[in-house]
Symmetry: C2
Subunit: 308 residues, 2 copies
């Protein structure tokens, strides 16, 4: 009977959900008892909390992350003698709502209209529209694919940049390594949903930003490490870029001293674009647990070398 340790800020919610699922042969261990750490075969929780306990998890065979990003567990100095699976396929819907919210805030001139209302001023400035615009998706994993589907539905043209994959039917045009600058040229919106890996480090740099038109909007829902902060700030300050919506940062929480807080046309959303709702993530764990005890491979296994 495999023992499960839940290492999560929402451990109580997860325990209730898993108990209600009445999973065969599963023993949920009490994380409050130190002796249980060595006994657990399965761990389910946030990567940073798992990392802190990693040395003591003597019997660990499988860890299920509640997050998509698992960087805390990718440090080459850490053990890799277990199966690590991440949360995938559940964030696309929320991410799409997030991206839509801010694309529309921009096109519909919502903040300008709010300011007019403060002055009791009827402001019939024409609205913009998403229709006919070109969105570039930097990364087309499960999140990017859902963004593509939503963008297509709303009449946008969709470019996708990936290492090699071309799996998403809603991408109109794919670009791969070596064509990053062509990918960026003339985009109305650039949305990054890249994982943090050595390959994605600072891909949004001055050269890429220079290819975007001055009316373009950049949205980052992936990882902060994909952005050269200084280059982004320079582009916004010079007016070479119309705006940036930043949900993720190289260091979180973002320090109060960071210049992003007051850079013109930056909106900061404090890593709220797609929270891990326990009911969804527990569903993923339950599916993977059934596979695990049946001796099948779990879904969304992370390649420690590749980083996702």
């Amino acid at each position: 009977m495999p023992g499960l340790l839940i290492l999560s800020k929402q451990a109580d919610a997860y325990r209730s959900l898993l108990e209600a699922a009445n999973l065969p042969d599963l023993q949920i261990l009490d994380a409050g008892q130190a002796g249980n750490f060595a006994l657990s075969e399965i761990v389910f929780g946030e990567p940073d909390l798992i990392r802190a306990q990693l040395p003591g998890l003597g019997g660990l065979k499988w860890a299920q992350s509640t997050w998509a990003g698992v960087e805390p567990l990718l440090d080459p100095s850490l053990r890799r003698d277990y199966v690590l699976s991440n949360a995938r396929g559940v964030f696309g819907g929320l991410m799409s709502e997030f991206v839509l919210a801010y694309l529309l805030l921009h096109e519909r001139k919502v903040l300008r209209r709010l300011a007019a209302q403060q002055e009791r001023r009827w402001d019939a400035t024409l609205t913009g529209t998403l229709r006919g615009k070109t969105i570039g998706l930097l990364g087309v994993g499960s999140i990017g694919a859902e963004l593509a589907r939503t963008a297509r539905f709303l009449g946008m043209k969709v470019r996708g940049y990936t290492r090699a994959s071309e799996d998403c039917e809603f991408v109109d045009e794919y670009y791969h390594a070596g064509r990053l600058l062509d990918f960026a040229t003339g985009l109305d919106y650039l949305v990054a949903s890249l994982p943090a890996t050595p390959d994605t480090r600072r891909v949004v740099d001055a050269a890429l930003l220079a290819r975007l038109p001055a009316h373009a909007l950049f949205i980052n829902v992936g990882r902060g490490s994909a952005v050269d902060d200084a280059a982004l700030i320079a582009a916004l300050q010079s007016g070479a870029l119309a705006g940036a919506v930043l949900d993720v940062f190289s260091q979180e929480p973002l320090s109060p001293a960071h210049p992003f807080w007051a850079t013109p046309n930056v909106l900061i959303t404090s890593h709220t674009s797609a929270p891990s709702f326990p009911a969804q993530i527990a569903g993923l764990f339950i599916e993977n647990y059934r596979r695990y005890i049946a001796g099948q491979s779990v879904l969304y296994q992370v390649d420690f070398e590749r980083g996702y």
Copy 2:
């Protein structure tokens, strides 16, 4: 050869578009020459501008409105001896973007996050989501149908209230006269896209608003006459309703003295939800002109009695 008079604030744009279309047998008359009014068989433009010239349009057979709403021409004291067609089928996309923009502004807590940014404060307050919410469409014409399609795509449940029609496949549940309060009960979002007719006058009243939960949001993209302003203000002031997004008003522009400007949780968007872009409206005119000269009935003919 039928003579056309263009009576629009964007007359120059329309003239260029129609000239470029090279329509057979069409003579575009100069509205600057008074003698041309009596000669014109076709008028194309804004209903208020057409109304002002109506007595002098001796040869008028067909008027194409650039707007969806044609109230200025519905006054029973005015002549009705001509075919009137309105603009329809072109606003649904923009209206959907408008409604989405404000539903997402609400769910994603965008204004709260902006306030946190002003204080350089990392605010990880959980986001809401559109998924699983119930939207009620008060009116399911061409605009409501497109709203339904978009809402369904984003995972909402869709209720539709109409006089009798049940034409839209994206409405999950229809309600008709006599069941207005059932329709409203428990909605997360109420969106009115009703034309201004005697039947729709003040349908959004205290009794209807009382059926909405306190977390509900009301959006009006139809006509201001559908709302009992005092009842709406009372619901918002008492906290019985979470918010209202008002694009249209009984009197436009809204007077600076109107209490809406400063009612808590009201957002005013100054009739910008779906502008008549000349290229789209000209396309509609062109299609209807081809029908007209072929002796066919034009699309979107208005029933003067019904009012749309």
